[in-house]
Amino acid sequence: MVPSLFVGVVLVVLAAATVGGQWLRRRESPAIDRRAVDSFNARVQAWWFFTVVIVLAFLWPGLTVLLFAMISFWALREFVTLTPTRIGDHRALFWVFFFFTPMQFVLVYFNNYGLYSILIPVFAFLFIAARAAVYGDYDRFLERIAKVQCGLLICVYCFSYAPALLYLRTAEQPERRDPANMLFFFITIVLSSDLLQWAWSGIYNRHIIAEKINPVMSWEGVLAGSASAAALGWMLNWAAPFPNWWQTVAMSLLIAVMAACGSMTMSAIKRDRGELTSGNFVEGHGGVLSRIDSICFAAPVFYHVTRYFFGA
């Protein structure tokens, strides 16, 4: 009962956002910043997508894990494409794409926490370095392996904690009648805080955090956006998987702050590669990566904090 009402509320909000965005897009007015409208619509679209994916999880969690795995694979592709690698990394990359990435999600599906929490930070981490060393190319060695390791950690390891929420049991509801509730709550807060921080940054932009990295995000925007996300969490408390309202608010705040960190970090990575400014590489690439950056940062922190304080 509770999750279907929750889904209903989110769908209504999304529908309103979509109608608003499309209305703005159609309007011919010099007062409207076209790029801002497009950016808004892209965020709403991503949100729709994730909502549909998670609604599927209420019916069949395995399908959701599969879809998250595919998004992760695509994001890793974008990440490595943006990163210069050499032929010496080729074999290591092959294993990264065709063994570690699928394996991580298989382990998540079987809820093997003991293995999936260390597969990439321990085994893949060491394997990538050793495999590249065996090839025998030492040119910029540390830099190269660090990039592959970083891509795998962010796009696969961190991101895989989002579907892992499907299998997280809390003391509150050890029998997990609504397995997708936690994930749905998490995604709703992450994506709405992403949108809210961006919107507030557009309104209050006196203190930009780092102009060179992201010319939009401001301290006021992040603070106001995080506060709004926490308020949203409070309003959704009846659907949240936490026993007390202040815990829900604290968790929403945590998610919002991590989401902001994720967006900033990914902007920095893309700036470094010149993707945002020149964009001459391949149009539209980096698209998946910029949509999931906030999830990548918020998911593992949210998972572990929840597991520590509320775990069964």
């Binding site: 694979f73 592709r77 974008e78 032929i87 080729h90 990359l93 794409f97 590489f281 391949v282 149009e283």
Partner: protein, 200 residues
């Protein structure tokens, strides 16, 4: 037919290619698509990047020694409707250019890699003279430059397992051989036309 659909799909998935036409449009008129060459997948990539009606009329030029070895490669070459060129034995009365012209007749277009072989890494080698003689004998053919980006990282020379990064195929505006244009000038101009697409 089935192989064609399957190949196009596999090529698109492995290479994640986005196809762009810069100042040019797909057309079924007779054309020579010439591209930089860094990986075995280049042929399949360019071929599958063309829209189906154009693809049906387009024949890649491929090395006979590579593509006639084994059942699978022969079958693939047949699917592409490839023109196989013997690069080991080039006879005077049977020059590759004459063979190509005879094979394409008045209907087919052709995909070729004027570097001759695959270049290592990101460099594009000097163009061999085949393109020039082709243009000289058939001045009516449109010469369309094609730039393939990032394939050297997806399947580098000497590797046999691809890594699924993202690549792009860019088709540029056609060029023609100017009257009395010297061979070296023309080949340099053609090479520049390909490399210029890197920047757009």
């Amino acid at each position: 037919m089935l192989t064609e659909t399957l190949l196009t799909l596999i090529a698109r998935v492995i290479s994640g290619a986005s196809v762009r036409w810069v100042e040019s449009q797909p057309d079924t008129c007779q054309r020579v698509y010439f591209a930089n060459h860094t990986s075995h997948l280049d042929v399949i990539l360019v071929w599958s990047a063309l829209p189906t009606p154009v693809r049906r009329l387009t024949r890649p030029v491929a090395a006979k020694d590579y593509w006639s070895r084994g059942w699978l490669r022969r079958h693939l070459a047949k699917t592409f409707n490839a023109i196989l060129i013997d690069r080991m034995e080039i006879k005077v009365h049977q020059s590759p250019v004459d063979l190509m012209l005879r094979e394409i007749g008045r209907t087919h277009s052709v995909i070729m890699f004027p570097e001759g072989g695959r270049s290592a890494g990101d460099v594009t080698g000097e163009f061999k003279s085949g393109l020039y003689y082709l243009a000289k004998k058939r001045p009516d053919l449109e010469l369309v430059p094609v730039y393939i980006n990032n394939m050297n990282r997806i399947l580098p020379r000497g590797e046999y397992l691809p890594v699924p990064l993202l690549s792009s195929v860019t088709f540029g505006p056609p060029i023609w051989l100017e009257s009395n244009e010297p061979k070296t000038d023309f080949l340099a101009r053609a090479r520049d036309a390909v490399l210029r697409l890197k920047e757009c």
